[in-house]
């Protein structure tokens, strides 16, 4: 009786040993270790880590554009004309490295696409000057067709802003709060015609399950 039991036990042990081996092999080969490259949705929500990410950029840009386009003051400004705006910059006052030009690029692109504003690009002044110099001073160019100096128009409004953050963390939890403020200044009078801010809160907690 005892021997039978022992044999049974040892068979069970061997069986479960095989099962364990098989399952480990499956786990390692089938699902765990495959490098797969695929295209994802650029508009999807991204939560890889707590730092400023693509979703935050998209959210900030779309909220600021919506707020600016829907504001009554801008409605009056853009009623009969398309005001000329220049984007100064977004001051990055957070503790991270953030490409704030990317945010202003998104905002100015969306504002341009709305057909309500026109922009001058201060970042390309030198390149434009170089081209005009070439047109006006180089013997290769037909002087009657060269674009003359002194015909560009200046901006009437300046768009600028700040991005700041408050970061707090302890052993289990990290919390980051971003505040993005944006303003539109009338360059003639110096008055701030529009301002708005948007907030983002992100938290990271240790999850109970998973690895």
């Amino acid at each position: 009786m005892n021997t039978v039991n022992t044999t049974k036990k040892s068979t069970l042990k061997t069986l479960s040993g095989f099962a364990l081996l098989g399952l480990s092999a499956l786990a390692l080969s089938g699902c765990a270790n495959k490098a797969v490259v695929s295209y994802g949705d650029a508009q999807a929500v991204e939560t890889t880590d707590i730092n400023f990410g693509s979703t935050d950029l998209q959210k900030v840009a779309s909220q600021m554009t919506d707020s600016l386009l829907a504001s009554p003051v801008v409605g009056t400004l853009t009623a009969n004309t398309r005001p000329i705006v220049f984007v100064e910059r977004i001051k990055n006052k957070t503790s991270e490295h953030i490409d704030t030009e990317s945010i202003t690029d998104s905002i100015s692109t969306q504002l341009l696409r709305s057909g309500k504003f026109r922009f001058v690009d201060m970042g390309r002044v030198e390149a434009a000057r170089k081209q005009l110099n070439f047109q006006n001073n180089d013997a290769l160019v037909d002087p009657t067709k060269a674009i003359a100096f002194g015909q560009q128009v200046g901006a009437q409004y300046m768009l600028y802003g700040n991005l700041s953050s408050i970061v707090k963390s302890n052993a289990d939890k990290a919390d980051v709060y971003y505040k993005f403020t944006m303003r539109l200044m009338d360059l003639k009078s110096g008055l701030v015609e529009w301002a708005d801010e948007t907030e983002i809160r992100k938290t990271r907690e240790k999850s109970t399950f998973g690895w």
Binding site: L20, L23, A32, A44, Q58, K59, L69, S114, G115
Partner: protein, 141 residues
């Protein structure tokens, strides 16, 4: 030993299920009768969530829309929503940068989701709402 086998099976199953549920509920505005355009692709979510009102108006010659989302569930829901805009002929507005936005809806709470048309050509819209099902959803659709 037995526990290890069970654990490994669970791990194996968990590792393989990385296809998230991305269906949800959506509303499309073609006329004032938005109720007819209400679409529930995910009945489980449809029970917990309802689109109770759709309002539209013109702001600075742009279509402005507010959709009221109401929770029918006692716990918090972690959702994502996206507006898509169409012109008068039903063509999607090109380069429409309206990302999926995350939203936490508390138990039995109502929230107004507002969307503004990106250009004055955009006249109709659709709004899709879905649940955040797994971490694997991050970039996949």
């Amino acid at each position: 030993m037995k526990y290890l086998v069970v654990l490994l099976t669970v791990c194996l199953l968990a590792a393989c299920t990385n296809r998230p549920t991305t269906s949800g509920i959506s509303v499309e505005q073609a006329s004032a009768q938005y109720q007819q355009q209400l679409k529930v692709d995910n009945p489980a979510l449809g029970k917990k969530l309802a689109i109770s009102d759709v309002k539209t108006r013109q702001t600075n010659q742009l279509s402005d829309v507010v959709v009221t989302l109401s929770s029918q569930y006692k716990k918090s829901q972690y959702l994502q929503y996206q507006f898509t805009w169409y012109d008068g002929d039903g063509f999607v507005i090109k380069g429409n940068h309206s990302p999926w936005q995350s939203l936490t809806l508390f138990g039995f709470a109502n929230v107004q989701l507002s969307g503004l048309a990106p250009t004055s050509d955009a006249v109709t819209f659709s709004l899709a709402v879905r649940e955040v099902s797994t971490q694997a959803q991050e970039f996949k659709d």
